[in-house]
Amino acid sequence: MASCSRTQVISLYRMLVKESKKFSSYNYRTYALRRVKDGFRENLHVDNPKTLDTLINEARENLALIKRQASYASFVSYSSFHWPSVFFSKDSC
């Protein structure tokens, strides 16, 4: 089946990594990159075409999710929240 081809999987992996890099939060970005890498690595030797299909669909859904969430963070602005000026003192501890 075309969806099980090696190049398809690799291109899916590349797209997931590319979209994961767009998270503006350090923790989400590093988690997404790490989880994608580990997820693909642990399913390296899966042969059963049915499982492969489910996994590939899951990866596609996660790709759409990451696209949505990474872009959501960039247009949420917190400029209406003002830190009290006591937090901006210049002296270091």
Binding site: N27, T30, A32, D38, I66, R68, Q69, S77, S79
Partner: protein
């Protein structure tokens, strides 16, 4: 040109503050708000560079997983019906989402979906179970057993029960934080209605022998409630294996939304509860009030994700925790880990640094978000009652810091925290006269301090 810019900026500021200038026409004010928003977006990008502390306080709360937020958003925006409306599609779709979430929560703890009641958090679940069970069986049973290391909401509920005329025993814990099963067995009386012991402690991370306690309570026909807020989704939990009758779960401890939790209430054998919130009979009459669909959906998604990621997260957290503890203990002497070293959840590490004051160390580690006790007791300067209960010396109890490691912690964060911690502890110890005395060989305990 300058004058025009000033008036324009003043008008932008006013439009941002929501005060409309009556002299501006509608079109003009629309243009101004668009320009204002462009300024807002620009200033947001600058803020990306601003530094925020590293988050190492996963026992206080956890950030929401992006997958949870993704599941919640449609219910915040489009599918806004009340799940208890029976007459139209908005209600039906909302109800099916809530029931799906209920199943996800039930699957995580090995329960039946009908046994899950959505609440506003673990505090409400704890209140419901303690007050509800005690009051329902008041006629025949008058005794409640709990431990000294429970969460504040459990201890406070028990205090209220004492005021209502119940008998409450606060079991002491051993030095490693675990309870003594023999002592528990001896404390159970024929008129004991409830035993409440938390699964994983939020301050020292010890894991109680819940399976043994559950079997003991079942054999003596006593209801067993456990506050599993810190355990669910982090260690494997099965309410049937453990013979647990009531279990409190919190949403925001497992990367879900804040403001939602659940209470597991066993149906066979049935546990009866007198409800705290009366009203329209929602949630089987145990907790009236509209179930918040987006929060419940987020909570369900968080539970499903936790179930899938449990092994992966546990392995990772163990590796990071060992790394943190090994590095700190090998570099600086006189560091004590509070709580049993084996029977614990690795992601909650409570270390006491001798001869260093905990609060001053926290302030010195200002680039890392840590806490020295639980969030609900951090407002007072008293050392934590949990550390006092495990028998830690007063001075060690004052110098304890709790490190929390979670799903999103990276190796670099752990390394940075360790480095800063070692550096600051060394610096604070240099300033400490007690440390000087110890270096000279004086035994601190033998000194008779006088007041003057």
């Amino acid at each position: 040109m300058n004058m025009m810019n000033r008036t324009l900026s003043r008008k932008l500021l006013r439009s941002m503050c929501g005060i409309s200038n009556p002299r501006l026409s509608f079109a003009q004010s629309a243009v101004n708000t668009v320009q204002g928003q462009k300024e807002l977006i620009k200033s947001r990008e600058l803020e990306k560079d601003e530094l925020r502390p590293l988050y190492m306080d996963f026992q206080a709360t956890t950030p929401m997983d992006p997958r949870v937020l993704d599941a919640m958003l449609p219910f915040q925006v489009n599918y806004y019906g009340n799940p208890h409306s029976r007459t139209h599609a908005y209600g039906w779709e909302s109800e099916s989402a809530v029931e799906k979430a209920r199943k996800q929560v039930a699957d995580l703890i090995g329960a039946d979906p009908r046994e899950i009641v959505f609440t506003s958090g673990a505090t409400e679940s704890n209140n419901m179970s303690i007050k509800g069970v005690a009051r329902f069986y008041k006629a025949k049973k008058n005794h409640i057993i709990t431990t000294q290391t429970e969460h504040k909401c459990v201890l406070d509920s028990c205090r209220i029960m004492e005021a209502e005329g119940f008998d409450v025993t606060y079991l002491p814990v051993k030095n490693n934080g675990l309870i003594d099963l023999k002592q528990l067995e001896e404390t159970i009386r024929p008129d004991t209605s409830l035993v409440s012991i938390m699964t994983v402690n939020n301050e020292i991370g010890v894991k109680q022998p819940i399976k043994e306690i559950g079997h003991l309570c079942r054999s003596k026909n006593v209801f067993f409630h456990t506050d599993a807020a810190q355990a669910v989704g982090k260690i494997p939990v099965n309410v049937n294996d453990w013979k647990v009758d009531l279990m409190s779960i919190s949403g925001h401890k497992i990367y879900g939304p804040k403001g939602v939790g659940a209470l597991y209430v066993k149906r066979r054998p049935r546990v009866r509860i007198e409800p705290l919130l009366n009203g329209g009979g929602q949630e089987r009459g145990l907790r009236s009030g509209t179930v918040p669909t987006p929060l419940a959906v987020g909570f369900g998604a968080a539970c499903e994700i936790a179930q899938q990621e449990l092994e992966y997260d546990y392995k990772r957290v163990t590796v990071l925790a060992n790394r943190l503890v090994q590095k700190i203990m090998s570099e600086i002497p006189d560091v004590v880990m509070n709580g049993d070293p084996d029977q614990r959840y690795p992601g909650c590490i409570n270390l006491s640094f001798a001869y260093v004051e905990g609060e001053s160390l926290l302030m010195a580690l200002k680039d890392v978000a840590l806490s020295s006790g639980s969030a609900c007791t951090s407002a007072s300067l008293e050392p934590s009652y949990v550390l006092r209960a495990i028998g830690a010396d007063e001075d060690l109890a004052h110098s304890s810091i709790r490190f929390g490691i979670g799903r999103f912690t990276t190796e670099e964060e752990v390394d940075f925290t360790v480095e800063k911690c070692i550096q600051q502890v060394k610096r604070l110890r240099e300033m400490s006269p007690l440390w000087e005395m110890v270096q000279e060989g004086i035994d601190i305990k033998s000194i008779k301090w006088t007041q003057h």
